[in-house]
Symmetry: C2
């Protein structure tokens, strides 16, 4: 078996669960946060650094890699693992979301989706079958099939159309699949419409995939709405398959989603905000540019044991960031990825002990959502 | 003794020498290339990575650090070593060269030099005494005194004036010095005028410093002219003191200078060109943007054993560089610093064996100065 998911424990007071995914490239404990390595690099980081942090799986993306350098080149270079020197597990998104959110001149039809490259204006046409081919070229351990991701807000009929098409495409993807070492995940759409979510869930699950992703959230809707729908549909997801909630990276949202029975998460948030000077701490976000840190000898998060917090002061990081240096982007990315990984590891422990609700409450109570600059 | 230089061997067929400098922060084998960490960071790199490469000493700069974040802040943070998390040796340049080459509105008088900050337009006035204070604040193991660096080309009388002032300032620096853990180096000026170089050398040496730097070269003059003058003045430099040729980083020039009896070198070249996509190889420079490397599975330099060359292909680095990623800047900087360090270590070995001339000739024969793109 090249892919296996085992449920290890549940917390009886909520829906939270912990398990382990096995791929040819190692084990992944869930719940897990998967850093974005969209363009065949987790921005600023080496693979060895990710390993030190404890990252077991990273996310890549067919959309970006198809546009540059091309999936064919990556195949010729021995696949994505070898190309980017990453020896642990890889998951590759299909690019459904990216096509609809990043490309100009998108034309979707039942056949597939046409779009223009934002890099050089070249035209591209993705079909479910082509995406399967691209996925085979990359050879990521887990591969997502092509879906249509409706924007937010979108009318009921627009989302209904996207749900139908996503199911059609899932069927065609399934037909195009050959036996191999990759696990394919289906994607559930349906926007913020409860009945469409249920319909999509049933249609995708009936096709049978190695895992199920909930897509089309974190596209602008209030998170409460997302959690409300998750709460209602979660019981209909098969227990023995991993559940991947796409696009979530905010620490408190992660814990909320874990408590609702989700297993896998990805987002560019921790890496992107780090490059903008923002880091997560147990007390909320801080931005290192803040003048308050001018001669602050504390680490980013005094309770954190990451490389950055063990060795550098806020004063140094602030100075470097304002001077336009590259090192602080690395060090703050390191911290945020360590923080996200730590948060999921603590969640796993709490679930095993049956204390997830307390852990979540403690964290939420300490974490000031808007940020904690100036106050510590 | 907080500073000690021991000459270990000479190559009898030329002027090349190898020795060891001891500071409170460790040993430095010479000849040595010192990477530029001008703004309290060797651009893109962590201290641990520099240690892995074998870097024993890095160069910082009073000029840059005075303007931002301020030497007083660094002192308050426990000195430069602690501020930047670097536990090996540090040398801090006085900023003489930088004031004259980077600042607008420079007014030099016998008292000192006034200049405007290119960052915020603020006015600053450096005197030899103030520079000593700034150096004490940073607490680098080796500190340079303030000099006046004439541009190239410059008239005889202009350079003569700079030589006199540099000697006056050296005298005042010497008077301002207190006993401490820092070694102060004098700087010899004189441009491309042989007699002025000799006069400066005598005046600076008569004052007595822990080591002697040759400044005011690598400012635009033909390197042959520099080597010609070095050849004539080298014999008048005291044998038992380290000789630091400022501003040299090109691999072939380094070997030429080693053969003329120079011990220490610094330059931003290896780190700067790496960020522009250029790396040193045994066959000359290559630029990773070159289309020839599109699907080149070779490492940057097939004979190199640095982290980058052991783990990454030219195809991957080229792709990442063109995609505007940060990781290739790190990886190419790593390679160039490894290359420069390796070159000096090989030079040391060759000098000990008395085979430096052959080593130098072999290297020069293989190294195509203009670059070797497309031809391998």
């Amino acid at each position: 078996m090249s892919f296996q998911f085992t449920l290890l424990a549940r917390d009886k007071k909520n829906r939270a669960r912990t398990g382990v995914i096995k791929t040819l490239h190692g084990e992944i404990r869930t719940p897990v946060f998967m850093p974005a390595g969209t363009k065949a690099t987790v921005k600023t980081m080496t693979p060895e650094e990710l390993e030190k942090i404890g990252v077991d799986i990273i996310l890549s993306n067919i959309y970006h890699l198809h546009l540059r350098p091309g999936c064919a080149l990556i195949k010729e270079m021995g696949g994505l693992h070898k190309f980017m020197h990453w020896n642990n597990s890889l998951i590759a998104d299909s690019g459904g979301y990216q096509i609809f959110s990043l490309s100009p001149l998108v034309k979707v039809s039942d056949e597939g989706v046409e779009f223009k490259s934002p890099i050089d204006g070249s035209r591209h046409f993705f079909t479910p079958e082509k995406v399967i081919d691209y996925q085979l070229a990359l050879s990521a351990d887990i591969a997502m099939i092509l879906d249509e991701c409706a924007p937010y807000p979108a009318s009921y009929s627009q989302v209904e159309k996207a749900v139908s098409r996503t199911s059609d495409w899932a069927k065609r993807s399934k037909d195009a699949l050959k036996d191999g070492n990759q696990a394919f995940f289906g994607i559930i759409q349906g926007g913020v419409y409860q009945d469409l979510r249920m319909r999509s869930l049933e249609e995708i699950i009936n096709l049978g995939f190695s895992g199920y992703a909930v897509g089309g959230f974190s596209v602008g809707e209030p998170h409460e709405l997302m959690f409300e729908i998750l709460k209602r549909i979660e019981q209909f997801l098969p227990e023995e398959k991993p559940r991947y909630l796409m696009g979530l990276g905010n620490p408190t949202s992660l814990l909320e989603a874990v408590s609702l029975g989700m297993d896998m998460f990805d987002s560019a948030l921790p890496t992107r905000v780090a490059r903008n000077g923002t880091v997560f701490t147990r007390y909320g976000k801080i931005n290192i540019r803040n003048a308050a840190y001018y001669k602050d000898q504390k680490p980013l998060d005094p309770e954190c044991s990451c490389y950055t917090c063990r060795n550098y002061t806020r004063a140094y990081l602030r100075y470097l960031y304002i001077a336009g240096e590259i090192l602080p982007l690395r060090l703050m990315t390191w911290h945020n990825l360590y923080f996200s990984t730590w948060l999921m590891e603590e969640a796993q422990k709490a679930i095993r002990r049956g204390t997830f609700d307390e852990f979540k409450k403690n964290f939420m109570d300490g974490y000031i959502e808007g940020g904690k600059d100036n106050s510590q």
